[in-house]
Subunit: 345 residues, 2 copies
């Protein structure tokens, strides 16, 4: 059950970050480093990109997964590199997303395409992918190289799938979940189970971590899609909060979980929403607002939160086979963090 | 000595391709294959991209290098994959270049950004890089993964360097050669010496092939830069020929070998050229034409061809340590092919 307005304590990642604090600092130091040459302009851009912040959720998943599956809960240099390259791939895809969407702001700061231009942004995205490839090579682990190669493909395929289904009112749940895997969960899962592979873990443990990452990632994407609908209540009432324009997915004709639930509900509201999307009225402010209102007064938001919770529960269940440790608990607490984002809006 | 208008026989790649015909066909079949998912739209785009043609020079370098350094001149599946991924990286960078330059045409056909849009082009470039990563993983060879990671970085760094030096009249030869390595020679060299690595060759042979690829690539880039100046004579006189607008580099303030030579020559013409660039008059048609005329009537073109020939000779000398074979001869003949492009204009 959602209780809007109550900010949950678990929305704070700090206790989880503290579990792997030294490693997170090393990741941070690596991230802004130019691994390719000594071009000062590139170095400056890298610093700007990474100083803009971000939750560093993906490095956290890698480091916690590494410790939770490591001998005596220890991890080494390889896990730091894995955490770095996972964040590099995520950041590269954000830089290209901002070009694709012609976005001016990201996390409240000017995007590379806005501050410089599209040329620089396309190249810097490529350069971040290249830095990730260099890190990947340093792992000297062919299976992990294969996993990340597929992730890169999934990221593009997920975006292309989303683009092709815009305003397609017949988009189904399978398409939605597959797209969420491609866009988000594939990378989460690569990070979690590659961390176990680097520890030389047995197949059962590796598969458990793979499934954990997948479920956590789908949960994350569902919550993100929910915030695209509910975020307005938040940003109206207090500073900070959601920094991207609310209703953006709907405006672009991207049919996410709340929309799918609202469409499936039946009745006059569903019909009207269908018409708003089919006739692309959601592109305009008035149609967009009307669509958001229909979704908000339906049970769609509650059902979306329940769906996200199901994936969160599955993620925790996946790792029940791991030996008890603060890191295993941390991985489970990550699901609470993600769900608390939904509840605080 | 350049003899404009004489089309050299060695401008035909066919005899070299025939040396590795079966393998080149396998490369062609792989190139249009979607390794990521069964999305029909992506499959269609891949076919379009690769059916648009291209000389397949990079796969040819890989396959000839593989045979020239292979036991009994044999190569296997790994060399096919290496050839494929080398062409994938090249193609990905072209797709992104066309976005960056807002180009409408490539090899006489509509670019992805023109035919679809920039979103699709950015994503398809990323997807091609992802396909290359998947191929790279299949090689199961960490040193080769490292070499290609660095190439990806060099490609971006080379483009960024070029962008930062636009209209910079003080750009020097070192900057020019470094940029040529990043943009072109780094990938040529990765292909040639990785082919030797996959054959388990000794260090001397690997280094010889590395240097060969580097020299061949620099030679190729110099000739390409020369065609940007001299290409107009060709496209005016007969169908086909150079398909990109002549003088494009100069228009963008990119200082290539012919420009550097013309600037260094001294005298009134050099001074005028400097002014045309510094005051960005080369951006306009009149200034561009005047600049091209100054370069063409100087000794810059001849000197540029001599410089390219020096790198071609070095490339052939590099591989003199290889045992005699038609493939070693083919590698040397590649330098003649590249130089013949310069001479035919």
């Amino acid at each position: 059950m959602i209780s809007p307005g109550t900010k949950s304590k678990s929305q704070d990642l700090t206790p989880l970050i503290e579990l792997v604090q030294d490693e997170m600092q090393m990741v941070e130091d690596w991230l802004g480093t130019n691994l390719i040459d000594d071009n000062p302009f590139v170095g400056e851009l890298l610093k700007q990109i990474f100083q803009a912040g971000g939750k560093r959720l993906r490095p956290l998943i890698v480091l916690l997964s590494g410790r939770a599956t490591g001998k005596d809960n220890e991890i080494g240099r390889l896990h730091i590199i894995l955490a770095v390259l996972t964040e590099l791939i995520h950041t590269a895809s954000l830089v290209h997303d901002d070009v694709i969407d012609s976005s001016d702001l990201r996390r409240g700061k000017e995007t590379i395409n806005k501050k410089w231009n599209e040329r620089v942004a396309v190249l810097m995205g490529d350069l971040l992918f290249a830095q990730a490839s260099i890190c990947l090579a340093r792992l000297m682990n062919p299976p992990v190289v294969g996993i990340y190669g597929q992730v890169l493909g999934d990221l593009c395929a997920g975006e292309i799938k989303q683009m092709r289904h815009q305003f397609n009112i017949d988009a189904d749940w399978d398409t939605y979940i597959q797209k969420s895997i491609g866009k988000t969960a594939s990378l989460f899962s690569a990070g979690s189970h590659s961390a176990a592979i680097l520890n030389g873990q047995d197949n059962d443990t590796v598969l458990a971590l793979k499934s954990y990452g997948l479920n956590l990632g789908i949960c994350f994407q569902i919550v993100d899609d929910m915030l695209d609908i509910t975020g307005d209540f938040d940003s109206k009432n207090k500073a900070g909060g959601v920094l991207k324009p609310v209703g953006g997915d709907l405006r672009n004709g991207v049919l996410t979980a709340p929309v799918l639930y609202a469409l499936a509900q039946g009745g006059k509201d569903s019909e009207r929403l269908r018409k708003l999307i089919e006739e692309r009225l959601v592109v305009e402010d008035a149609g967009n607002q009307e669509g958001l209102s229909i979704i908000s007064r339906s049970c769609a938001i509650e059902k979306t939160a329940e769906l996200a919770q199901k994936y969160a529960d599955d993620a925790c269940r996946d790792i029940s086979i791991l030996p008890d440790s603060p890191y295993k608990d941390g991985l489970c607490a990550l699901t609470e963090f993600i769900m608390s984002r939904a509840k605080s809006n």
